[in-house]
Subunit: 198 residues, 2 copies
């Protein structure tokens, strides 16, 4: 069976950098935004719309102004949500079947649970996450308070999405094999030794 | 400042083995039960009594049959509890001052927070912990159900004790730098690479 590493991550914790470096270190495939693109191609929905769907738990993006009866709107929207999740699951299964890989987000730890993936969760203190977000979005004019609000909102959505599809608590140790706090840590330095345990 | 590694651990997860191997790998001191012994020596209380105090949050071991008025019993007992915790904190500070070290349990992550220790939490699935406990207590005649009850009781006490003295949630990722699930893992194999990140 292929070596599969899934990465859950708090927004701004460097989970994506961690995942990419880990994949490079191990010389295996890395999937993140590619999955959204593949879902869009499979479903004929736009990438932006798919992104919206996969970043919130269903009812949170209920399209109240769709101009149809509530029942119809609800049922139409929920069909799309179900289609996107089913497509996402299928794509993730195909990627895991194809080769060893690192997959970021997308409930991959749950979708691939029968393959016993190495489940990693990357997190950091809010202060460190704010600093990373500002460093990665140079030129932004939002305040620190607004940045904290934005980070908290993204994480709330991730937690609700994860809980909705898996029935488990996002960021709870029992759902992972390794949880890594990147506060004050140079990710490039810790990845090579950590890669040896997989 | 010395390199300090603190280890919180679920009962039966192999946290002690992990800590000892990590200390050996790094060639630094290791403290676990030695702390109880040192507290007993400092306070003139028996090791067993100290152990009872440091494994439960104060009110849980309230000595109702002490044969004094409730008020007096309460105040006498609470003074002992406070003395034990103060002595424990002082001993842990002294150990951290003396040399690089690994300290298991005892809220050391909180007591030494100003020294910025590397805070590790070791845990495992209940099934793995039950198997480890049976393997380590050969000849025991308790049932699996009883073993689960015993493990859960110890962990409940640890969680309450930690929460009482630190105001934080035991086993919550935000209080640690690294959380390691030892389910299905050979601890001897993962310690050498992990030691390189400290």
């Amino acid at each position: 069976m292929n070596k599969i590493i899934t990465i859950g991550r708090q927004f701004g914790s460097g989970g994506r950098e961690f995942g990419r470096r880990l994949a490079d270190e191990l010389g295996i495939a890395y999937y993140d935004k590619e999955i959204i693109k593949a879902i869009a191609e499979h479903t004929a929905l736009s990438e932006d719309y798919v992104k919206q769907i996969v970043e919130k738990k269903p009812h949170a993006v209920y399209p109240v102004n769709i101009g149809q009866s509530f029942f119809f709107a609800d049922s139409y929207y929920m069909r799309q949500v179900q289609e996107v999740y089913a497509t996402q699951s299928q794509i993730i299964e195909e990627l895991a079947e194809k080769s060893d890989c690192v997959i970021v987000g997308r409930c991959a730890d749950h979708i691939l649970r029968n393959r016993k993936p190495h489940r990693i969760f990357v997190y950091a203190d809010m202060e460190a996450r704010v600093a990373r977000c500002f460093a990665e979005s140079s030129g932004t004019d939002i305040s620190e308070k607004q940045m904290i609000k934005q980070i908290s909102r993204v994480d709330k959505n991730r937690a609700e999405y994860y809980s909705y599809y898996t029935g488990k608590k996002w960021g709870d140790i029992s759902n992972y094999d390794l949880c890594i706090n990147t506060t004050g840590v140079e990710i490039a330095k810790i990845v090579p030794p950590l890669a040896k345990i997989f």
